[in-house]
Structure formats: C-alpha cells, structure tokens
C-alpha cells in the first residue's frame, strides 16, 4: 500500500503547489518581460526595492484580508480604516502627545483605531449576524466620513522626523517597510498553517455550522479575524504615514478591491475554507510588478488598464491548466 500512496501524496503535493507554481511562473514571466523590455532599469536592486516598498503597504492589508476571506467573510472597509487610522494618528492632539513622549504613541493610536474598527465590524458580523458585505460597506462609508470630519479634509503632516526616519530607513539594506511586510507575511503564514487559530479559521470558512458543532467558538473567532484585519490596516496606516509623511482621509483609496484581488488571484477561495498567505504575497507582487513594468515601458494609463484585464484572465486560465484538478472547478 505504500507505493501508490507515496505516489499519491507527491502528486497531491505537486497539485497543491500547482496553483502557487502557476503564480511563481507568472511572476517569473513578468520579470523576464520586464528585464527584456526595460533592461537594467528593471533588473536593478533599486527598482526591486521600489517594487517591494510599494507592495508592502497593500501587502500587509492583503495578508490580513486572507484571514477574513479564508474564514468565510469579506471586508470592504479596509481602505477606509487605513484612512481613519492615519488621520487619527496624525491629529494635532496625537502628535502633541507623541512629541511629549515618543512617536510610538502615534503607532499605538493607529493600531488601536484599526483594531477598534475591526472589532466593530467583527461584532456586527458575528453577533449582530449581518452579512459581512453590508457591515463593512457601512464601515467603508462611516470610517471615511469620520476621517474627513476629523481631518477637516486637510492633509495632516507628520512632524516627528524620528518617526519618518525610522520607518523610512533600512536595516542591512532592507527598507523597514519591506521588513515589516515580510514579518507580517511570515507571521501570517505561521498563524494560518501552524496554529490552532489558523486551523479553526479554515474550518469556520469551510463549514461554519460544522465548526460550531465541533465546539469552536465561531462568533468569537470570527470577531477576532476582523480585529486582526483591522490591526493589519492600522499597520498599513503607519507604513503609509511614514511613506507619505501625512495622514489624510484619501489614503487607502480602493484598497478593498486591490486587496481582495490579490487574495483571490493568490488562490484563496472567495467562499472561504481555503487560504494561502504565500499566494496572497505572490498576488500582491504580481500586481505591483505589473504596474512597474508598465511604467518603465511608458504605457499610457488606459492601455495599461486594458492590458491588465487581459493579463489577469490569461494568467488565471494558464494557471488553471497547470494546476488542473479535475472535478474541482465550480461554476461560480
């Protein structure tokens, strides 16, 4: 029995990797195209870091989104939460407090605001039993509106240079932002694949009723997922504040779409029950690299949009042929 089974497992391994493999190939092709068309300008360390820095902010949000989607939810309010966190953390009051103590106060504020927004989302979804789509749509409107009111629609400038320098700096040549993204991604991977929390997330997303009857505290866990994503938004807000030296209600525009797109392209099931952090990271990198290659090649925006649409579809189609699991594709 060992023979066929071992064979089976390795085939399975390959197939499970198939999706990821497809993404790696897509990214590889993209890099080859980039290097071929833009040469040195693409294949330089500087350019690599530029791509990675850009990927970091949306990447952190996407990793958080992976959890919510894997757990069977959705969050449309991430961009708004990023905006609100950034605004709250850069108000005069917060900045003054930070001045009197340490910029960590600003960071704490952003994380707290993010987490509280996530908590509200989570409570309303898990205990209020309102569809996640509606709850987070309301949060999207509410948080952005509140951000505008707080900021009085002005851009608030971060005055603490230490803050900007710390997060804008590098450690051993790696930008702090990229490091943060790497940490969040690694932490996310461990959390999803190596902990009871991750296992329960997958179970809840796969069959919430079965999870409930197996004794999992589904409502509490679901709430936690949204808090986690809220925290990720808070982190993203800090990163954005460092990157742009500002807090404004326009930060995080359309992050919801970008993050969900990265997660879904990465291979996480939109209906929940299956998630991959590695896929999400690859998804984010693909989108970011695509933009970079386009820019290096001087494509105009409209053509970029059309090309992007076509590339997404072709990439996913190819990927499916590579990772073809018969009988597993659903008409959805």
């Amino acid at each position: 029995m060992d023979g066929p089974q071992a064979g089976k497992r390795s085939i399975r391994g390959l197939m499970a990797g198939g999706r990821t493999l497809g993404l790696v190939i897509a990214l590889g092709v993209l890099c080859v195209v980039g290097a071929a068309t833009a040469g040195e300008r693409f294949a330089s360390l500087d350019n690599l870091l530029t791509v990675l820095r850009l990927a970091s902010v949306i990447g952190v949000v996407s990793v958080g989104m992976t959890f919510v989607i894997t757990g069977g939810g959705i969050d449309l309010s991430v961009g708004a939460i990023v905006a609100l966190s950034s605004v709250w953390a850069t108000t005069l009051a917060t900045q003054q407090m930070a001045e009197n103590s340490h910029w960590i106060v600003m960071v704490g504020c952003a994380l707290l605001v993010g987490a509280v927004c996530g908590l509200i989302n989570g409570l309303l979804v898990a205990y209020g039993k309102i569809a996640a789509f509606i709850v987070t749509l309301a949060m999207l409107a509410g948080a952005r509106g509140l951000a505008e009111i707080i900021a009085n629609r002005r851009t608030q400038i971060v005055r603490d240079q230490d803050f900007v320098e710390f997060f804008g700096g590098s450690v051993l040549g790696v930008p702090v932002l990229v490091l943060m993204f790497a940490l969040v991604a690694a932490g996310g991977w461990v959390l999803l694949n190596r902990t009871t929390f991750g296992r329960r997330t997958i179970a809840i997303g796969g069959n919430a009723e079965a999870a409930r009857l197996a004794g999992i505290k589904v409502a509490r866990h679901t709430t936690l997922l949204y808090v986690l994503l809220g925290l990720a938004c808070g982190i993203a807000a800090v990163m954005l504040m460092a990157r742009t030296t500002t807090g404004t209600s326009t930060h995080g525009g359309l992050y919801e779409l970008d993050a969900i797109a990265a997660v879904v392209i990465g291979g996480t099931l939109l209906s929940g029950g299956r998630g991959t952090v590695v896929g999400t990271v690859l998804g984010v990198l693909i989108f970011t690299t695509l933009t970079n290659v386009f820019t290096l090649n001087n494509l105009d925006t409209s053509t970029q949009a059309v090309a992007k649409g076509v590339i997404i579809v072709v990439a996913v189609l190819l990927q499916q042929r590579i990772a073809n699991r018969p009988g597993e594709t659903h008409v959805r």
Binding site: T195, T196, G206, N207, A211, I216, R274
Partner: protein, 504 residues
Amino acid sequence: MTQEPRELLAMRGIVKLFPGVRALDGVDLGVRPGEVHCLLGQNGAGKSTLIKVLGGVHRPDAGEIHWRGAPVALTGPLSSTRLGVATIPQELDLVDGLSVADNIHLGHEHARFGFTRRGRTARSAVELLTRLGHPEIPPGAEVGGLPAAAKQIVSMARALSRDASLLVMDEPSAVLDQREVDRLFTVIRELTAQGVAIVYISHRLEEIREIGDRVTVLKDGRTVAGGLDVASTPTPEMIRLMTGRAIEYVFPPRRKEIADASPVLDVRDLALRGSFEGIGFTVRPGEVVGLAGLVGSGRSEIVETVYGARKATSGTVLVDGVVLRPGSVPAAVAAGVGLCPEERKSQALVLGDPVASNITIATLDRFARAGFLKARAEREAAEELSGALDVRPSDVDREVRTLSGGNQQKVVLARWLLRECRVLLLDEPTRGVDVGARSEIYALVRDLAERGVAVVVVSSEIEEVLGLADRVLVIADGHILTESPASSLTEHTVLDLILNGAAA
C-alpha cells in the same frame, strides 16, 4: 424460466478512475424490467460511483453500457434522463431556496412558453407526495426549512416525477424510519408491477431480503457476484461475498450490571418551543440510553438541545452535577459532551478539508503548545483512529469530500472517539455504514460504555436501539412516551407504542 428475460440495462466492464483511486475496476451489472435489483457492497466499494456513471454524472474510463440491448453513450445527466433513468442520489440534491413543488419539477418544469404553470406544478407535486404517503408536506414550502426526512421524501417524489423505466435509489432508507420504509416498499411494488425496474442500494440486509429480487455484490470496485437470486442466497453468504469474511451480525453483549454511580448526564424538564417539552432523563456512567421514535418526533432536537446547539426555552442540563450554560456548545464540549450530528455533510464535516483535520478539529488544543500545532502528533492520532475504524482509503490527507458516504460517517465518529468524552450523543451513528463497520461501531460504543462513558443513541432502526441501549426512551411528538430497560422491549412492542401513541 426457459428464456432469459431481456435485460433493460447492461453495464459491462465499467472502470472509473479518480486521482489515486480505482473506484470502479471492471463492474458488470444487468437489470431486468420490473425487478428490484439490489446493489450490495462495503463502504467505498463503488456503489454510488457506479450509479453516478449510470446517471451520466461521471464519464467511465472504460466499459460499455447497453440500454434495451443497444449500446448507449451517457454524456451527461440529461442523456441518462432521456433514456428513462431517474436517480435518488445518496447525497440529497435539493435546492434549499426553491419550494417543494419547484424542486420536484426542477429541470422538467410544467411550463408554457417558459412561464411556469404553478397550479399544475403544485397539483402534480401533491399527487406524487400523496403517492409516497406524505400529503401533509406543503408543496409551497421552501425545502430549506424541511427536516431531513421530508427532504428525502421530496427527493423521491422528484425521481418518481420523471416517469422513469429504471429508478435508482442510493440508500433511500438511511434517513427513514420503519413506517416510512414500509411505505417506500409499497411504492416500489406498485412501480415494479408496472414494469419499472428498480436498483436499490442499502446496507440493511433485512430490507434486501424483503424487497429484492436479485442482488449484485461489489467489492473493491469489482463485481464479485452478479445477479444472484435473493431468495436462494442466505444472508451470511451475502456478507461473506461483500467482506470476504464471515461477520456475525449481532450486537455485542451488554454489561450485566451498571455501577450504581450518580448520573453523568442529567436532563431536567427540558423544552424547546415548537419541538418538545418535559424531557427529563439521566444517564449514568457506562450506560447507553437509546431514543426511539419516528422520524420527526423531535429526537434530533432533543440531543441537539442537550448539546447546546439549540437554546432550550426552559429546563436544565447537568453534567456531573454542574449546570451547563444553555445554548452554548463550547460549554458542553468543555464539560466533556460530544455530538455526532444527524446530517454529516452540513453539520459535521468540513468537506474541503483533509480527513486528518476533520478528525482532530474538536481536539486541536491537545495537539498544540501555546497555540502552535504539533503536526506529527496530530497526524499520528488521526491515522490511528482512521485505522481503528477502517476508514477507506486510509490516506488521511485525502479531502473528506472524496470519501464514500459511509466512510465519511466514520470520520465523524473518529472525531469524538478522539476526544474521549464523558457523554457522547450519537444521532443516527450508523447511517450509511456497512455491515462490517457497523458491528465495529457497535463494539466501539460498548467499549466506550465499559470505560464509563455515558452514551445516548438516537436511531431510526428500532433493532439498533434495542440492541445497543441499556435503557430506551420512546419519543413521540416531542414527549417521552415510556422509559424502560431495553431487555423488556421488543421491536414489535416499540413500534406498537410509537404508532398507537398512548398505548402505554
């Protein structure tokens, strides 16, 4: 019988491969018009897969199918329906959001220019349901709100509505009680009298004795015996063909004496509005209490409420003398209560997850340190249990979705065996489980009881309740009719009690 009657359906050398599994490996099946042809085989033998090939759901990798003597190619569900084959699948195929009548006619609606004729649809639905003995099921009700048994009836009505010349029933009796099975058999006899052929799958051998004309036995994807005459084949012979060994199809001996300990589970005056009331019983350690009753009598609701999956309107549940928080599953689980729910697919299994994590889902903390999983320990535990219950295939990385129905049920059982509960609530624990595994499960339940676990068993098979339980509660219409030691009851008296209500 001088001349062999012409076969309606002949399947020869059917092979079906799934990644890593030869589900069918050269199966032959011949069905004559007007006969009840039974398919027998252990869990995972390939019965459902064969039926799906016949239904056009799966394309076979090899083999040929003849219909009324002519070769046919089944390219999809539609082509099989057109031949005149209708199926009641093992896993219900209803649409929750549609009404009973619409479900029955899905795909062949009564319509004019695309507009549904609602009156006719409802009338013909009622007609079919009446024929099945269920005129009370409202044709306009949404199927999603019906109990499992009613759904099964709707699924049957749908198959009947096709006016098929071959009707395939994949374990139709699994969710039905005695009375319902009898009604089903009446319908089957009516149909066969009209020349309709029936392919009947069941793990209950006595049913096959009762209704079957001929039987084909599958083992590991192969036909080991084709078209045996049921009447001339003794039951032990069938079991031997199926399993390759002789199994004594009996219940393990009961323990003589149950320690006079204080009860582990104490249910007091429990009620759930609209379902049941005044339910009170106790279960001592080592005791097995059975709940007998008709489908719809509220037994599932009772155990689900005890478990906290439903919030009781009044009453209390005590485990080891401590009151459980009502409506809280985690509280019950923490107190050592486990539930094998009735509907494995929707209530118990995370279908897309591997077998291993489905087994360990309720015990995760045991395999974790500070929240981090010890993958090896988890895997070993899962493998051990799946081995003990003989889950096939034995690969615990396989998605539960791809397991046969009976094997899925074993996975659910394994979950709670792993947890080492103080109280185990089993709702239809042997639904869809084959003879061999069934006796293993009985032995397991006994074994658990020996070790001091308090067990509650709900089953629609009265024989099973009587054979397994020490004490039996007969439930009707949300009330306890009687409570007596199993030894003082017979199948007949219980059925009598249930049907004639207050006979006690």
